[in-house]
């Protein structure tokens, strides 16, 4: 309990020192702080004291309290986890955490290029390295997350084509679809495209039947939410283009060392989430969104986000940075701008840049190859477990759907048993894709060893007995 009569000096508030406060009040000729609140009518003044928990005034006490709460969590690191579905446990290189923990970056905000040159250069370099990964010349300073990137990419397509319909492959996850539907609603009708039940690939017949002069964009994910690669990507892009629509492709950036980026098969706008590139999972707080296009003003002027560009300065050999085409933003022209721009995920952009610089070309190739091999190994092992099948048996990047229907058990109860053995099974799809019955989406990354995968297979075999 705090003693009500003894003034507390708060370490975060220099002028909470009574003498300092007194001197300040005197300097402004005020009896008390009440003088400053004179404009706030009595009727809406809050009376009394907020009903909040008693604070932990000492840092030691605070640490004890928060650590006590956190100790009730079990992290994915303490378990063997196969959860993915949009948030992934990849290795985070130490230098990524080192750079994004530096106070100069962590505590900066919206300074101009002259005092925040470092932020501008680091984010320009992020855009540039993402540009190499995507083979595109324009990439935004990150927006919130992949969901936002997907929704904004579709609205960009709508503005570019002047059309009002988006065709979206039906294998998309429910949450991403929910975000897209809500966000594009005033501007685009969302139509879901059928997919082949065996392969999960988009039904090209369905696409041809639904596409029309109203279609602004054909949208698919590669790899799909359900883990397999859309091998008809080039045909889909061609059909989109033949009908005057854009092809918008959502990709996993960590796949692009081995998988072709969308522009190579006809994608007009690539989008996705940078969480795999050096961000921890943070219980879902590690996301950042990207969009990428060709360097065509018709596209560039439709980005809502900041776009940092490079220029020269008055000094020979010196780079300067600044905002490209700022007048398109809501900062410049409020509701006349393209959607809106605001605080989003800049620090994660810097971090993803650090990640790509550490990995280099060879690292991105190796990590992509290795993940594909581990995923393939895992699905082969699980196939051998009696009662289990793999759905959508195509080419997978890091995720695949395990079909538990043959076990006669619910995914939920199987996963409870795995949990007792120290394993997080993949995402239960039974509510999200009821047509699949009892299926789950398993993710494998470079952190999984052969022994980890063998352990999963053996444990499943054991709990399914």
């Amino acid at each position: 309990m705090t003693k009500p009569n003894k003034p507390i000096v708060y370490p975060y508030i220099p002028n909470s020192v009574p003498a300092a406060k007194e001197a300040m009040l005197k300097a402004v000729n005020a009896q008390s702080v009440e003088a400053f609140y004179a404009d706030i009518p009595e009727a809406i003044r809050f009376k009394g004291k907020l009903n909040l928990p008693e604070p932990f005034l000492s840092e030691a006490g605070l640490v004890r309290h928060i650590e006590g709460l956190l100790s009730k969590n079990t992290s994915a690191r303490e378990m063997l986890s196969f959860l993915g579905a949009g948030c992934y446990q990849h290795h985070v290189p130490a230098v990524c955490d080192e750079i994004n923990s530096r106070g100069e970056f962590l505590t900066a905000y919206a300074g101009d290029p002259y005092e925040d040159h470092g932020r501008f250069q680091a984010l320009f370099e992020y855009e540039s390295m993402m540009g190499e990964l995507l083979n595109m010349d324009v990439v935004n300073v990150p927006n919130y997350d992949g969901f936002q990137a997907a929704a904004t990419a579709l609205l960009m397509a709508s503005r570019i084509t002047g059309r009002g319909e988006a065709l979206i492959c039906g294998t998309i996850g429910a949450d991403k679809l929910s975000k897209i539907r809500d966000y594009v609603r005033p501007h685009l009708d969302v139509v879901l495209l059928e997919y082949a039940p065996e392969s999960g690939l988009m039904s090209l017949g369905g696409l041809k039947a639904k596409i029309s002069e109203k279609t602004a964009a054909v949208f698919f994910e590669n790899p799909s939410y359900l883990g397999f690669l859309e091998t008809q990507a080039a045909e889909i892009a061609q059909i989109a283009h033949e009908n005057g629509a854009l092809c918008v492709v959502y990709v996993d950036p960590i796949s692009l060392g081995v998988v072709n980026p969308p522009v190579e098969y006809g994608g007009d706008i690539a989008c996705g989430d940078i969480q795999p590139l050096g961000m921890h999972m943070w219980y879902g707080g590690g996301h950042g969104g990207f969009m990428a296009t060709r360097d065509d003003p018709k596209f560039v002027l439709e980005f809502p986000s900041r776009l940092f560009g490079v220029s020269s300065t008055r000094v020979e050999g010196e780079y300067g940075f600044g905002d490209v085409a700022y007048e398109r933003t809501s900062f410049a022209v409020r509701e006349e701008g393209k959607e809106w721009v605001g605080t989003a995920s800049a620090l994660w952009g810097i971090t993803a840049g650090v990640y790509l610089a550490l990995m280099g070309p060879q690292g991105m190739v190796e990590i992509g190859q290795g993940i594909m091999q581990r995923a393939e190994y895992a699905l082969r092992k699980l196939k051998q477990v009696p009662g289990l099948k793999i759905r959508f048996d195509g080419i997978h990047f890091k995720e695949f759907v395990v079909d538990f229907n043959g076990t006669g058990q619910m995914v939920e109860s199987i996963h409870k048993k795995l949990l007792e053995k120290g394993i997080f099974g993949g995402k239960d799809l039974s509510a999200e894709f009821p047509g699949l019955g009892q299926c789950a989406l398993y993710a494998v990354t470079e952190i999984h060893s052969q022994a980890d995968i063998d352990r999963l297979a053996a444990t499943l075999q054991e709990v399914l007995k």
Binding site: L106, A122, I350, P361
Partner: protein, 518 residues
């Protein structure tokens, strides 16, 4: 020896200037920054080269042309770039008005770096995340108390995302009552953040913007003339960007309610009124906070941040999903909300910042939060007194009245007398290791400057900032070319801005730069 002379005021400063190349220029073929785990022989033997099985159209032919650097060179490059950046940790960061650049306590960053926070997957079984769900639930309880609202969603990723979430809830509310089509207008004020207008437009609304009256308060008569059966909501900040508290706020709320519209309070910055006045007590139906402003989470060069949307009982069914629930023993996520606006972002929010904000509140308590507000306001009123002593500075509107937590000043007189513009002064301030921000556009206040000192700065800090400002203002009168040729002590020199608006020259990536300068 003789005693070292006292320090000059403002201090002599030169920012780090490493003349760092763009990272591609540091590439050394074959160098590696980090190695990735090799696939075990057992896996390779079983599956072979899986990537080779990709069909031709999906197989990447050449490795991405990323730079190749050893680890120390990556580290050193970015460490140098970080030194060429000014955060709250380094400067007297009172110049970014409206953004509440307060101290972000290190202990909270340290706590959030725990693997029990950083390495949680959002789909983990609820039994393994009881601690973080409790933190989320507890923060919601705190923000409910601070706002007076019935529930608070922590899902939005930042302030503008929270505004958007509020727009989406307004839309869903009116649609649920069969008035979705009829109510197609949102009203805001010019001194409210531009995202209020922009988010409403994205959600399909026509935007009406109210300008200030002669005293700087939102024009009540203009507002009353604007509201109608077409009004979906009012989106308003208070105190506005001017730092002036709109004392007639209840009349605005009542006027919008009278026509069946909703009142939405942009409390991105609530720093001056914590425990003083609450959104719900003024009749608001929705509000939002920026946890990276009032609640101290670090700004991260522009995110990750966190937003919180508070709603009155009537709006609860429309909250983003899932919500965090507590039954007295267990915390859980509830996704079965049929009228919900759905997802605003993946999962549940920027959870590490939710933890930091909770920890910050728990370090202060109710008395501490009130102290935050009172000292922020005291600091602001001290600062404004000092700034107004500078030749050429003024504080438009509401003459003789105090301000809450920030002030939008004007250098109009200085500009008239010297020809120096606020944007030029802003650049010169960099030479003293300081920053200031002018204003959002349009510049309703001529030659604007918006300062917000928060509770984190001492009298000496404020005096030093003012000393730099005074020197720059004096230079405008005595040696304007020093300002016109600034910055002099920054990382870089005046940049050629012309390419940024010229499609033939702009370069958003290094590959574009190489093509356009070849």
């Amino acid at each position: 020896m003789k005693a070292v002379a006292p320090k000059p005021m403002p201090r002599r400063f030169h920012q780090a200037s490493w003349d760092e190349p763009v990272i591609f220029e540091l590439s050394q073929p074959g160098a590696r920054g980090v190695l990735v785990p090799e696939v075990e022989a057992g896996i390779a033997a079983e599956v072979g080269d899986v990537a080779a099985k990709l069909p031709d159209s999906l197989r990447r032919k050449a490795a991405p042309a990323l730079p190749e650097l050893s680890q120390i060179h990556v580290l050193r490059h970015y460490a140098r770039l970080s030194q060429e950046n000014l955060g709250v940790d380094l400067n007297i960061d009172i110049g970014q008005g409206t953004c509440t650049m307060k101290y972000s306590p290190k202990v909270n960053d340290q706590l959030a770096r725990s693997p029990k926070m950083a390495d949680l997957h959002p789909l983990q079984d609820e039994s393994t995340v009881q601690g973080i769900l409790e933190v989320m639930w507890q923060l919601e309880q705190c923000l409910k108390e601070i706002s007076g609202m019935a529930r608070v969603s922590l899902q939005p990723g930042a302030g503008s995302a929270a505004i958007y979430a509020n727009v989406a809830m307004v839309r869903a509310y009116h649609e649920s009552r069969g008035e979705g089509k009829q109510r197609d207008e949102v009203i805001t004020t010019i001194f409210s953040h531009p995202s209020n207008a922009a988010c409403a437009k994205v959600a399909g609304y026509k935007v009406i913007t109210i300008y200030p009256d002669a005293d700087g308060y939102p024009d009540l008569e203009a507002f009353k003339a604007a509201v109608s059966e077409r009004t979906a909501a009012l989106f308003i900040t208070n105190p506005e960007d001017t730092g002036i508290f709109n004392y007639r706020i209840q009349e605005f709320v009542n006027a919008v309610h009278a026509v069946g519209g909703l009142a939405v309070y942009d409390q991105a910055n609530a720093n001056g009124i914590l425990g003083i006045t609450r959104a719900r007590d003024a009749g608001f139906d929705l509000c939002h906070f920026n946890l990276h402003k009032t609640f101290s989470t670090p700004h991260g060069c522009g995110g990750p941040a966190a937003g919180a949307s508070g709603v009155s009982p009537a709006l609860v069914p429309f909250l983003p999903k899932p919500t965090v629930e507590f039954d007295g023993t267990r915390y859980s996520l509830k996704g079965d909300l049929p009228q919900s606006v759905g997802k605003i972002r993946p999962w549940y929010g920027v959870v590490q910042n939710i933890l930091k904000a909770y920890s910050w509140i728990m370090s202060l308590g109710a008395d501490g939060l009130r102290e935050v507000a009172e000292i922020a306001v005291l600091n602001n009123n001290y600062l404004l007194k000092k700034v107004l002593e500078i030749r050429g500075a003024s504080m438009p509107y509401a003459k003789g009245k105090r301000r809450i937590e920030q002030v939008r000043y004007s250098w109009e007189q200085l500009t008239e007398e010297t020809g120096i513009h606020s944007e030029e002064m802003e650049i010169r301030m960099v030479d003293f290791g300081m920053h200031y921000w002018t204003s959002h556009h349009p510049y309703v206040v001529p030659e604007p400057m918006t300062l917000e000192p928060t509770e984190s700065y001492s009298q000496a800090d404020l005096d030093e900032y003012v000393a730099a400002l005074r020197q720059v203002a004096n230079e405008a009168y005595t040696e304007p070319d020093t300002i016109r040729t600034a910055p002099h002590n920054s990382t870089v020199h005046q940049t050629n801005h012309e390419p940024f608006d010229n499609p033939d020259e702009w370069a958003v990536t290094w590959r574009a730069y190489k093509k356009k300068t070849a």
